[in-house]
Symmetry: C2
Subunit: 246 residues, 2 copies
DNA sequence: GAGTGGTCTAGACCACGAT
DNA sequence: TCGTGGTCTAGACCACTCA
């Protein structure tokens, strides 16, 4: 879990030294070259490597801590943080926590799991140039034995080959992915929809019931990882986000 | 538009010097003591004021720039930035831009405007200890002469006394507020709802139509500013947010 | 106890841009 | 032109925490 020095990112671009160091380290983390838990070289070593003073490296590290990409412990060193969310809107992907946060027992069930090639429409949604192999997983999350939400997910096997061999019997795909794959960008699209027949059946509500539907796409350095639709039944479910300006 | 030195925030708390400086300046901006456009004292003056080196002040300023609270121009100085949004989820409050971004002509109409005292339920929602005077405004936004969304808003006159005299005939309340009041925290709650009778009438859709409803609350340094519900009809409307980890 | 990060200094030179 | 921010140095001391 130790990292060598980061590969210099691009020769062009960054004017200042600390911007270059920042780009190198950020690149190593977001590309997956330094997966979560990796120990980053010490400030002194990085300073020597870049031929600069410790202060310059420290400024970069301070920014990375503020950005939530790394955590630091005195004497122990600096480590790549595990993926995390910044707002409740993002935490929705960990449905288990959401349910348990309500004080309800959590349940989980796989409805469908298929290995196949991406269709043209999916390729467009995922921003693909050419079709890729993927896993399609439909699953249901329960709270106190009642359907809580429906999850329909595609995982690109080009980005995450291990997903082909995973049954997701124990760990829901969202949690499995977030523990394994670092991501650089995510996009949410949130809509109100009326339940169509399959959704109504899965969630056990009348057809036409207003549902909150979240589409989430995740990339790692331009490579699409996953596309997921999560559908919550009825008017009770709320998505909450808190912000500060900047 | 020039600022004196910032008032020290609290005597307790912040351990390190640059944390104290950060808290002071951030406090001055978010409290409204330094409104947008205010010129902040020069680095050298702040360093002298706090009895520290310029480097220490600079570290704070760099963080404030990264946070988007200030902008800096060589030779000119450092200024408090005008309020801005970080994601499309926040930009939703400027419905006009949203509509014009679709290439459609924008329209706006006030349905109701009432000066009154807050009810108990509203006080709870706003996090008030005691009732306050407020303005209640219902308005409708149009795209290409079709109802685009319904806006139901409360503005606290304790936080924004000028709102009592404002008719909102020209400028929608959202735009009026964001140009005037700095905010420190906002909270969104997003739900799917079926249109009830008044909503169905205002948006000209059948009752029960799934609608996306956003509740947005905004505070300035613990003082509630506004509570607004925005309801979009049907399944076509999407809320989009893009994130990077950290 | 020793090594790490946390913080800070008192300078320095440069580039930009307002005047 | 020349004052401002942008960047960087080569040290320093301290506190925490792991071994």
């Amino acid at each position: 879990m130790n990292a060598p020095f980061p590969e210099p990112a691009r020769k062009d671009g960054p004017r200042s030294l600390h911007q270059r160091i920042l780009a190198d380290i950020e690149g190593a983390i977001l590309s997956g070259a330094w997966p979560p838990g990796t120990q980053i070289p010490f400030e002194q070593d990085l300073a020597a490597r870049y031929g600069c003073s410790r202060m310059t490296v420290n400024k970069v590290m301070t920014r990375l801590v503020a950005a939530g990409l790394i955590e630091r412990r005195r004497k122990a060193g600096t480590f790549v943080r595990h993926p995390h969310s910044r707002s409740a809107i993002l935490e929705v992907v960990d449905v288990r926590r959401e349910v348990e946060g309500l004080g309800l027992p959590y349940g989980f069930e796989i409805l469908r799991r298929v290995l196949r090639r991406s269709t043209e429409a999916e390729g467009a949604r995922l921003g693909l140039d050419a079709p890729v192999d993927l896993v399609e997983i439909a699953s249901r999350h329960f709270a106190a034995r009642h359907p809580f939400c429906l999850e329909e997910r595609l995982i690109s096997l080009k980005a995450v080959p291990e997903a082909a061999a995973e049954s997701f019997g124990d760990l829901p795909p969202g949690a499995w992915l977030s523990a394994r794959v670092p991501w650089s960008t995510a996009e949410h699209r949130i809509r109100a929809v009326g339940a169509d027949a399959p959704v109504a059946a899965a969630l056990m509500v009348p057809r036409g019931t207003p549902c909150l539907r979240i589409e989430r796409r995740t990339w790692s350095a331009r490579e699409p990882i996953t596309l997921v639709f999560i559908t919550y039944p009825g008017e009770r479910h709320e998505l909450v986000a808190r912000f500060a300006p900047g």
